[in-house]
């Protein structure tokens, strides 16, 4: 028999989950210009690589924008470029031979999450921060983002009031523009007492955000079914992650086992592997996945037997949803 104190390294704790979702929220709240390096050290394209090396070493930096003249941005030089140069023992070369001219820029008023997305997509070490006139106002690195987020978290713990303000501000943001809110919940296996809480919270959040009743209901039902499946059918529980955007709601649930042997069969109405004791609690009709598919606009269920299961669903907030609401009333 497995001992209950068995280490569960892959599943994050509630506290960690809370911190993670807080960090994600902050990534939407904090703007690039709040954490960027203003007035970064810049170099000129005709300087020698040797000088660049010296400046990098003295100033302890790992990259610098290259300006031709006063403010004409022509490239960026990073440690990687310097290493290439060193390998060629070519320190007398001028910077413009080694600099990178492909520039990844980010708007100074964007939330950090936009910068994070660019880092993930491009693999660049730093982004040039520009203002509305495409003029460089600073640079931002992954390190800047980490420091900024950590500072904000620390500040958070001290300033309850500020946190409240932030939260309400965040909701306004979502209602009004392109940014999104991410909610994340860690679901415990076998927890029938608090089970369903995540779905309730999500549904409530949607109603508060002004989602139409019908949408909130469809989301609630779909997430509840997914949540109960994590509670009932997994070995270690799992995670629900919800992203609320102005035009759609995306829900991602995943767990690390036991997986589903035959996904097609699992999707059939009435198919269930639930035990008798679970049925006594009101589950195991074999209708959960069917209900989910009826409530959502897109659904993808993937599973590897012995590994885990991932369910991704999406609900659109556009005309289609309005249509079904009309049918309903």
């Amino acid at each position: 028999m497995a001992s209950p104190t068995q280490k569960r390294t892959r599943i994050i704790t509630d506290q960690e989950a809370e911190n993670i979702s807080r960090v994600e929220e902050l990534a939407y709240e904090i703007k690039v210009n709040e954490v960027m390096t203003k007035d970064p050290i810049t170099l000129a394209p005709n300087m020698h690589m040797r000088e660049a090396l010296e400046i990098f070493r003295q100033k302890r930096i790992s990259g610098a924008p290259i300006l031709a003249g006063k403010d004409n941005l022509v490239g960026i030089l990073s440690i990687e470029d310097l290493i290439r140069c060193l390998m060629n023992t070519d320190l007398e070369a001028s910077i413009n031979e080694y600099m990178t001219t492909k520039l990844a820029t980010i708007y100074y008023n964007d939330p950090l999450v936009e910068a994070l997305k660019k880092f993930v997509a491009t693999n660049f070490g730093r982004l040039i921060v520009v203002d509305q006139d495409q003029k460089m106002v600073g640079i931002i690195t992954k390190g800047d983002i980490n420091t900024g987020l950590l500072k904000a978290l620390e500040y958070d713990y001290q300033e309850e009031e500020v946190r409240k303000y932030r939260a309400s501000h965040l909701f306004e943001d979502i209602e009004s523009d392109r940014t999104s809110l991410i909610l994340r919940y860690n679901i415990k296996q076998g927890d029938f007492t608090t089970g369903g809480q995540a779905s309730s919270n999500i549904k409530r959040a949607l109603v508060r955000l002004g989602a139409p009743k019908q949408i909130a209901r469809r989301c609630g039902i779909a997430i509840y079914e997914a949540e109960m499946n994590l509670i009932i059918h997994t070995t270690e529980g799992g995670v629900i992650r919800v992203e609320i955007e102005s035009n759609q709601i995306t829900i991602d649930t995943y767990d690390y086992g036991p997986g589903i042997k035959d996904v097609e069969q699992a999707m059939k109405p009435g198919f269930s592997t639930a035990s008798e004791s679970v049925r006594e609690m009101g589950f195991g009709a074999g209708m959960g996945l069917v209900n989910i598919s009826r409530c959502v606009d897109q659904m993808k269920l993937e599973s590897v037997w012995g590994k885990g299961t991932r369910l991704r669903i999406r609900i659109f907030l556009d005309d289609r949803s309005k249509e079904s609401e009309e049918n309903e009333s």
Partner: protein
């Protein structure tokens, strides 16, 4: 039908202290498996069920159920009552069984809010 009328018809005991007795109950639905409830129930219904664990209340919240009636005089555990209070969902215990309850409410004019479940109904057994 309003909540107070319903409580009278089912000879029910209301577990919530503060509840607006004038809320409208649009219809009814009876089921003991939560996914069956979620598959078929329409908003604003009273849910008649033989289960009394907290998940009944969760399910009711998800499906916009207007009130819950526990059949056969079942007294729910404290967690269920607490959750019903928290979610502000009327939770009622009735001494009658499921069939009797459906009959009484239907006779009093309460329509069914169990919408037919479309699609293939291969029950898999």
């Amino acid at each position: 039908m309003i909540l107070n009328e319903l409580i009278e018809i089912v000879d029910g005991y209301l577990h919530n202290e503060k509840i607006d007795g004038s809320i409208q109950i649009l219809g009814g639905c009876g089921a003991d498996l939560m996914s069956d409830v979620l598959a078929s129930i329409e908003p604003g219904a009273v849910l008649l069920t033989g289960l009394c664990n907290p998940q009944v209340v969760r399910t009711a919240v998800m499906a916009d159920v207007a009130a819950i009636v526990l059949v056969r005089g079942k007294i729910p555990p404290p967690q269920t009552i607490d959750l019903a209070l928290e979610e502000d969902i009327p939770l009622i215990s009735s001494p009658f069984g499921m069939f009797e309850l459906c009959g009484r409410l239907h006779k009093a004019g309460l329509p069914s809010l169990e919408k037919p479940v479309e699609g293939e109904q291969d029950c898999g057994c």
